[in-house]
Amino acid sequence: MKKMLPVEELARDERFQRVNIFEQAMDPRTVRNREEGKGRSGPQKLTPEREDAPEAARALMHGIFMGEIQALEGAGRTCWDFPTGPGREEAPFELKLDMARQCWDETRHVEISIKLGDWMGTEVGEFAEATFLYEAACNPDPVLRLTGVNRALEGLAIDIFNTMRDFGSVSGDPILEFCEDWMLADEVTHVKMGSDWLRKITENDPERRANALEFQRVVDKLFSLGGFRGEEDDSPIRLARRFRELAGFDTAEIDDIAGLSVEARHDADALQQKAAASVATGTAVAP
């Protein structure tokens, strides 16, 4: 079986359609909303009062479903891609056991997500698949996978599950609330695995730890998605501080993620303005 499977070779049937995150970020339409006062404005937290709340919830949960598939694939790859052992190019047996346990959890999450999709009226593959989660899980250093996937991406999952659990509670949807609560509990353990293994493996290697944390910052910023996740009033997904503490984040780390979210919003605004300018002048925008 192939080691380090590239994202292009992930198995998907005809129901699924992939999109490129850069193309999404460069969509020139969004900035025009703001310039001309169109589109959304005001607080965008996902609450039942939002007219598009049911549709937004469906799209978000389909995104989570795709993330669960890729998290399963990523954790599975970590069990296989590295020889077993304590060396820098290896992964300890106990780490692989944790990744195997995570595969078990992610598989259950995929099944839950499919049933939740049935409940919400969403077909498998109804929305485009963004593959950046799996791409973060392709790092050749297992420690960077732990920070990029377990701490950054599973951390984002904590924020989303917590937000959606609250949405289910407020909207009176017992199925959504229970599904999110159960998956949230698992995600906390996945993030804590990442926190624990990061500290253990890099205990005597500060440079490797610094590299891993820098990779986590990059992924955290990318997954803040232009302010999608943050602590501002119009952030649809709220940073779940308490659950992050339970998952091994200290206050300074959580503050750092909040700061990255603000930076990501500013960067996205700048990118979109650049894209809009390119449309106006008929020139291409380089990635």
């Binding site: 969509d27 007219e51 049911p54 469906r58 919400m120 909207s171 009176g172 949807d173």
Partner: protein
């Protein structure tokens, strides 16, 4: 009766103007609008969101954000099913408003989310019987969000979805009854 879609061509999205016209013309024929009323659809391609509304009834003028017609799998590309769904619901609402027997619903801006959703369910039910995509469970989920997750709400949904020729008073009564039952059992 003429159908006009603006703009004639799109630069920010990959929509086919003629494909939208074809969908709207088919809807107009299937729905059966009053004689002599023209239909204008104004697509705002600059907005990737999903808002869609009726601006006027003679001619029937619809304003639709580009995201409402977009394929959720393929950004910036047209979904003909989605277009039929959005435009079809608006045309049915316009037809209802033009029908004295339907009653006198308040302006769209004054509709509560619950009443708007209930009316949408009745529109989608009628579109389904005309052969358009149903997505029944999706509509039920939206309805439950506004009327409670209960057997009473599901029964109300069933009436709105399956019954023909409901009046505005019927829709209001069904919606308010479901909400009252949800509040009583909370």
């Amino acid at each position: 009766m003429t159908v006009t879609v603006t703009p004639d061509s799109f630069s920010l999205v990959l929509f086919d103007h003629d494909a939208i016209v074809t969908v709207v013309e088919r809807l107009v024929a299937d729905i059966g609008l009053p004689e002599g009323i023209d239909v204008r659809v104004e697509v705002d391609e600059r907005v990737p969101l999903g808002r869609a509304e009726i601006l006027a009834l003679d001619p029937i003028t619809l304003e639709v954000e580009g995201g409402a017609l977009e394929d959720p799998k393929r950004p910036r590309q047209l979904s003909t099913d989605g277009t039929a769904d959005i435009i079809g619901r608006l045309l049915l609402r316009a037809r209802d408003r033009l029908d004295p027997a339907f009653g006198d619903p308040p302006p769209d801006a004054d509709l509560t989310l619950a009443l708007r959703t209930a009316w949408d369910v009745h529109c989608v039910g009628r579109l389904t019987r005309l052969g358009y995509r149903a997505q029944r469970q999706r509509r039920l989920y939206a309805f439950r969000n506004r009327h409670g997750f209960s057997d009473d709400a599901d029964a109300a949904f069933e009436r709105l979805f399956t019954e023909t020729d409901l009046t505005w008073a019927d829709i209001v009564a069904i919606s308010e009854s479901a909400r009252a039952n949800a509040a009583a059992s909370a």
